[in-house]
């Protein structure tokens, strides 16, 4: 293997080992399903390697992988809904045991974009700038999604 290829492989391996668990957990918290999150994270990692020259130069590749994974998970749920006679919820909760059920329930009932923003900000600890890059939306939109989400959560949890 040539020099640049070795570097490419090494940097991806290190990224994979560092980012897989945080991304998996973020997707699992958002979807309520560890299995779906595993599939989504693996798929997002494959796509990341496919475009590794580009993704590795991002300020926060984890953010890109997270957004790719949740988009994939959502289309998977949509396909399931399409093929299934029974309604499939947007969130596929496997396990009802949650340490703080009230807060988690409130987060899960947020509109999708707000929920994804809250998880990216408060679980993955992405900055607003990193979120704007990952979601490919303006920073102002990130702020307004977070503000709207927090306003709702304040009301729900008070």
């Amino acid at each position: 293997m040539t020099g640049p290829d070795t570097l490419r492989v090494e940097s991806f391996e290190a990224f994979y080992r560092r980012a897989w668990n945080p991304v998996h957990r973020a997707v699992a918290v958002g979807t309520g399903s560890s299995d779906l999150a595993s599939d989504a994270t693996e798929e997002a990692m494959v796509r990341a390697y496919e475009r590794w020259n580009k993704v590795s130069n991002m300020e926060n590749p984890e953010g890109w992988v997270y957004v790719t994974a949740i988009n994939w998970a959502r289309s998977r749920l949509r396909r399931r809904k399409f093929w299934s006679e029974a309604p499939v919820p947007e969130i596929a909760v496997d396990d009802p045991e949650t340490p703080d059920p009230k807060t988690i329930e409130a987060i899960r009932h947020l509109p999708r974009q707000q929920r994804e923003a809250v998880i990216a900000r408060y679980l993955l600890d992405l900055s607003e700038a990193q979120m704007a890059e990952a979601f490919r939306i303006p920073k102002g939109t990130v702020k307004s999604r977070l503000n709207r989400a927090l306003t709702t959560l304040r009301k729900e949890l008070s």
Binding site: H24, Y49, E50, S75, D95, P99, D100, I104, I137, L150
Partner: protein, 257 residues
């Protein structure tokens, strides 16, 4: 406790309940590398088709028989190519029943206009012109099955891009086989058509330039407004209008006739 802290703490606690089994970076790298290779092969095949279409088109120009008649001495490349690649072998192999004539004097026909399939004819708009106006489009026909929704069908054809024959005939688009199947939905409610795409941004790199976005929106709007029931149209990526227009360096908007 501030709500931000409460949310952070609940999320971190909840996250500890989930543990997955990563398959390892080797698997991801193997699949990623394979897909990259497949994409490169597909792009290369597409490039060959475009070149073949160009050669065939050049051959179909009256008088372009390898002599200087077509353009004097400033186009020797065409003459040279025609000698090495006969028009009959260069004709694109699109699934058309009207394979272009190999006669050097016949104008190219659009491949899809005479496909003998029962269905409804819709039009899709692709970029055309000499490039002086990025929003110039021309229409070409497509057939949508009688039982299918014509609006959704038209957009599904649009995102598949022009055929090699159409490209040779002067149409162009950033849509290509790479964006095929990227329409999630196209629904009209009270005159408002909302077209939702998958995340096509990575496959359409030039769309965010001013000329690129003008060309893209012109093709989308022209395709949308052929349908009389559509008064206004909005575009989304994965259900998000902001994402679509931020990609084009603008803000979410609705277009009217």
């Amino acid at each position: 406790m501030k709500v931000e802290d409460q949310v952070r703490s609940a999320l971190h606690e909840d996250a500890t309940r989930y543990s997955g089994n990563p398959q390892g970076p080797e698997q991801a790298m193997r699949l990623g590398a394979r897909r990259r290779t497949q994409k490169q092969v597909a792009l290369s095949a597409m490039g060959t088709l475009v070149v073949a279409g160009f050669v065939w088109f050049a051959a179909s120009i009256p008088g372009n028989d390898g002599s200087d008649a077509a353009g004097g001495t400033d186009v020797p490349a065409v003459s040279t190519t025609l000698e090495t690649v006969p028009p009959s072998t260069a004709a694109p192999t699109t699934p058309s029943t009207t394979v272009p004539s190999t006669s050097a004097t016949t104008e190219p026909e659009l491949a899809t206009t005479t496909i003998p399939v029962a269905g409804q004819t819709v039009q899709v708009a692709f970029a055309s012109g000499d490039g002086s106006d990025c929003s110039t489009v021309d229409f070409t026909d497509r057939i949508v099955a009688e039982t299918d929704d014509p609006i959704l069908g038209a957009f599904q054809h649009l995102v598949g891009g022009p055929t090699a024959t159409e490209v040779a005939g002067g149409l162009g688009s950033m849509f290509s086989p790479a964006t095929e199947g990227s329409v999630l939905s196209a629904k009209v409610t009270n005159g408002l058509l909302v077209v939702d795409f998958t995340d096509i941004r990575a496959d359409m790199n030039n769309a965010s330039t001013s000329c690129g976005s003008a060309a893209l929106l012109a093709q989308l709007n022209a395709t949308a407004f052929q349908f009389p029931e559509v008064d206004r149209v909005r575009y989304e990526i994965e259900g998000d209008c902001d994402t679509f227009f931020y990609w084009l360096q603008g803000e979410c908007q609705t277009f009217s006739r």
